[in-house]
């Protein structure tokens, strides 16, 4: 049974087609990335998962529970950290978490709340009013709110937007440990480096459609390559390299290589040709390149 399953989900807001037949499934225990430019439909899909938005057609389920027919079980199974920072200014951090627990029918949840506070470095702020917290701390409280009921599926909608480096590290450490403990994680982010490091599988969305879906490694292998970045002080590329190389905007060349050993070979060829190397670096495949290529490919289709 997949942790999250979407089948042919359509949603329109007036004339805007937010979701155009989205189908995907996230397996239990996965760390899944949902990427795409603004307006691709990621947040709409997440909202539909949490019942904030109802799909026009298609089905969505969490841990096998349909999000409309079996909404109570579905919502119990998922914890969503929304993108915008929101809070209730009437309450303290601890009250906020106690109330959120109560909404899930959990009356005695103090132990888990204490643990959440500690893991998210909020213990010292437990009795502070929500208004008094910095943006990063409010974000952490939102993460804790999404986790009060220990959901098997955790959805984070751009949790690190505008968040400082230290918090980002703490947050990922915590989320990784939850993933290791068996929680399924679905993440949207604009930081593709983060997605590359964290996610085992990725879906890319554009204009309400899933345009790429696969393992991170597979996508990297298919759409990105290892390149040798060379800048020459003098001389020119030997013809054998020049045939493969691409000029880059900074005035150097990008020479694709299958693995690091090929770098030496390329260097030897350069030396034989009498070219003097100013700088040299081996660039690993990057998700950013995959992303850009896929988005460009989709534009051509349209």
């Amino acid at each position: 049974m997949p942790a999250v399953q979407a089948a042919e989900v359509f949603k329109r807001f007036g004339t805007v087609r937010a979701l155009e037949g989205v189908s995907l499934s996230v397996e239990e225990g996965e760390f899944f990335g949902l990427l795409g430019p603004n307006g691709a439909g990621k947040t709409t899909l997440i909202s539909a998962l949490g019942g904030l938005v109802s799909a026009d057609s298609g089905t969505l389920s969490v841990m096998g529970h349909d999000v409309t027919r079996d909404f109570r079980a579905a919502r119990r199974a998922v914890g969503i950290v929304p993108q915008e920072i929101v809070f209730d200014p009437f309450f303290t951090v601890r009250e906020t978490l106690e109330i959120q627990s109560g909404y899930f029918g959990l009356r005695r949840n103090a132990q888990w709340i204490d643990e959440l506070l500690q893991r998210l470095a909020l213990t010292s702020k437990a009795n502070a009013n929500m208004r008094a917290l910095s943006g990063g701390m409010k974000r952490r409280v939102m993460v804790a709110q999404a986790l009060v009921h220990r959901p098997p599926v955790i959805v984070l909608d751009e949790p690190t937007a505008g968040v400082d480096v230290e918090l980002r590290q703490t947050l990922w450490q915590f989320i990784r440990s939850l993933n290791a403990a068996g929680h399924t994680i679905v993440l949207t982010t604009h930081y593709l480096e983060e997605a590359q490091q964290l996610c085992s599988r990725i879906a890319m969305m554009k204009d309400g459609r899933v345009v790429a879906l696969g393992s991170t490694a597979g996508l990297l292998a298919e759409f990105s390559e290892r390149v040798l970045r060379v800048k020459l002080e003098s001389g020119t590329l030997p013809p054998a390299l020049a045939a493969r190389a691409q000029a880059d905007p900074a005035g150097g060349f990008r020479i694709p290589i299958a693995d690091v050993a090929h770098a030496e070979e390329a260097l030897r060829e350069l030396r034989t040709a009498g070219a003097a190397v100013a700088s040299l670096e081996v660039a690993e495949p990057e998700l950013e390149e995959v992303f850009v290529k896929i988005m460009r490919r989709e534009e051509k289709v349209l």
């Binding site: 904030l52 109802s54 919502r75 915008e84 929101v86 809070f87 009437f90 009921h149």
Partner: protein
């Protein structure tokens, strides 16, 4: 029934934390009305035989405050949650439409009743009023605050901006409560305005409530109770339907 008790608790705690504004302020307003109107009109008006005008005013003013505050509670809570976005913390948990409806409704009634008790507590040493039929008073207090609590839910869900809510409050709730016979007996009105008053559900709430104190009213209390209860039931059914459909809450 998972989240209902907590949502109710949260809604009560929300107004109680700012009770200076939500309870003390309306009590003070009611006392000001009482003092001013009693001073200006006591010598000229006799509403019910054997009941002084000042006595007559107290239950009406209490009920008006109760109605207005019941409305204010659910409407302001909902619109604030919607505008700040924290409504999602209520929409994401596994709470059904009836749970959400009941929690907002009952919290509004609690606020109305607390304000009403406050008005009586504050006026007791100024103008003691008899309480001849407590059960009638309680019944109308419950139904009256219930009607306004539901209207507050509707307004809070419908309004997208504060000025829309203010419009609902100033052009519907205020006139209807003000013209519901708080300051006069309906029988003093010309026949046309008497029949208009009889279309106003708030009139029945106030008139029936007053019966609980003096044993006298413009309309038979059973009629008033029936009218008010039917209004409450119809509004509740409609509002529950709106929430179930996700009107302006779930898109």
């Amino acid at each position: 029934m998972t989240g209902f008790p907590t949502l109710l608790y949260k809604e009560v705690l929300r107004f109680w934390k700012v009770s200076f504004q939500t309870v003390a302020a309306p009590v003070v307003s009611a006392i000001l009305y009482l003092i001013v109107f009693a001073h200006a009109l006591a010598a000229h008006v006799q509403a019910f035989p054997g009941v002084s005008y000042v006595e007559f005013l107290v239950p009406g003013l209490a009920m008006m405050s109760m109605l207005q505050n019941a409305f204010a509670n659910s409407s302001s809570s909902l619109i604030q949650s919607k505008l700040t976005g924290n409504i999602i913390f209520i929409l994401l948990p596994p709470m059904g439409p009836a749970e959400i409806f009941a929690a907002y409704l009952i919290a509004s009634m609690v606020r109305g009743l607390v304000v009403g008790l406050g008005v009586f507590a504050a006026t007791l040493w100024l103008v003691p009023v008899p309480l001849q039929h407590p059960l009638w008073a309680v019944a109308f207090a419950i139904v009256g605050t219930g009607i306004l609590g539901v209207l507050g839910i509707v307004a809070g869900i419908w309004a997208e901006r504060f000025d829309q809510l203010a419009g609902f409050q100033n052009f519907l709730v205020m006139p209807l409560t003000f013209l519901a016979g708080v300051f006069y007996s309906m029988h003093t009105l010309p026949p046309f305005w008497q029949s208009v008053s009889k279309l106003n559900p708030f009139f029945y709430a106030i008139d029936g409530f007053r019966y609980g104190f003096f044993g006298q009213s413009d309309v038979d209390p059973w009629t008033s109770l029936a009218f008010a209860t039917v209004t409450l039931a119809a509004l509740s059914w409609m509002t529950l339907h709106l929430i179930r459909r996700g009107y302006k809450l779930r898109h």
